[in-house]
């Protein structure tokens, strides 16, 4: 089992190096427009909930009822739009050659990645 796993890992790395399975990199996105729509809705609602919550708490603390509530309502809406924007922009992959500093940049990368070839 060990050798087999190791082989699969090396094969996958080699394929990735040669750029054979490039389309696998764009995975991690859900199929179906309904699922995407629901996710976008949840993102907006949750950002609004957080914004309104912060504003309302600040108001209750400082006794300035409508003002922080209004400001943080707008901020929450903006954060919701930002969340949806992030949902639809392609994410940077760790294995992506366009982001070479991703793996080398963190100090734990060499510790976990370099020492052991097989973890299972």
């Amino acid at each position: 089992m060990d050798t087999r796993n190791g082989f699969d890992e090396r094969l996958r790395k080699a394929r990735q190096r040669k750029g054979l399975d490039r389309e696998k990199l764009s995975q991690g996105r859900l199929p179906g427009s309904g699922a995407i729509g629901l996710r976008a809705g949840v993102e907006v609602v949750s950002a609004l909930v957080v914004g309104v919550g912060i504003g309302w708490l600040l108001d209750r603390w400082l006794g300035t009822f409508p003002w922080f509530f209004l400001v943080f309502f707008l901020i929450g809406g903006a954060a919701g739009v930002l969340n949806v924007y992030r949902l639809f922009t392609p994410r940077k992959r760790p294995g992506d050659p366009a982001m070479p500093d991703a793996v080398a940049g963190t100090k734990n990368g060499s510790r976990t990645g370099g020492g052991r070839r097989q973890d299972d």
Binding site: R39, A47, V50, V103, T106, N108, D119
Partner: protein, 251 residues
């Protein structure tokens, strides 16, 4: 049970009652807790008894256990990168717990503990605390730069920083609402259509034919709910991995 009094009672299935008789009542041990324990026990049993043979050609349970392991492992390494392996136990536990919670909820008379926002929000807060602690311990003060993208004009800071902070704080909320809303909506729909079947069926000979339509819908819904049960566990796990990737790499 739901059709008593000819009304649709779709929400009583989410009510908590104490389990295990007087002992459970004394310590407020609810059926939600009971099913959490069952889920945990089943996961442990699957991983322990499944992997005990450790055969080269796996049997059924070993194949299932290995598939689960392989699935989460590839998800974690793909999303976080090679250094994400240290988070594999966490993501695997989270994924299996939610998956078993959702799947157990599909059994008749079972309780879906993931249909309570207290449970999902607690799980999401664990993730949130973890990603924050990981980001701060790996990057220290640079973590604060996360809330202000490099190259943005400085006069936009009063606008960008609150928006980014609210966006960051909305992560556990959206994680928990998504799982909770999906499970509640699915189970309410199942219950509503099941009640239709009973109500129609009690209306005599014509009603029996009328009951066939909601019954067919319910059969399709059960299949769909199994998909949702898996998909929501997957979404929770993959979003956890994406957040962990952000925490490790800070974009």
């Amino acid at each position: 049970m739901a059709a008593e009094g000819k009304t649709i009672d779709a929400l009583s299935q989410f009510e908590l009652t104490t389990a295990l008789g007087p002992i459970g009542a004394a310590v407020n041990f609810t059926q939600s807790n009971l099913f959490m324990l069952i889920a945990g026990g089943l996961i442990l049993a699957l991983m322990h008894f499944g992997m005990r043979p450790a055969a080269v050609v796996p049997g059924r349970f070993q194949a299932l256990a290995e598939t689960c392991h392989e699935f989460v492992h590839s998800l974690v390494t793909e999303q976080i990168g090679p250094e994400g392996r240290r988070f594999f136990p966490f993501v695997f536990t989270l994924f299996m717990f939610i998956l078993f919670g959702n799947m157990l909820g599909m059994l008749p008379y079972a309780f879906t503990f993931t249909s309570h926002i207290v449970v999902t929000f607690t799980l999401a807060m664990i993730v949130f605390v973890l990603i924050t602690v990981v980001a701060i311990s790996l990057h220290g003060k640079k973590f604060l730069g996360y809330f202000f993208p490099e190259g943005a004009p400085i006069w936009l800071a009063p606008l960008i920083i609150p928006v980014e902070i609210v966006s960051y704080l909305s992560r556990p909320v959206s994680l928990s609402i998504r799982l909770f809303a999906n499970m509640v909506a699915g189970h309410v729909m199942l219950k509503v259509f099941a009640t239709f079947v009973v109500l129609m069926g009690s209306a005599g000979a014509v009603g029996v034919f009328g009951a066939a339509a909601p019954l067919a819908v319910n059969v399709a819904l059960v299949g769909f709910e199994f998909l949702v049960a898996f998909l929501q566990a997957y979404v929770f796990a993959i979003l956890t991995s994406i957040y962990l990737h952000d925490a490790v790499h800070l974009h």
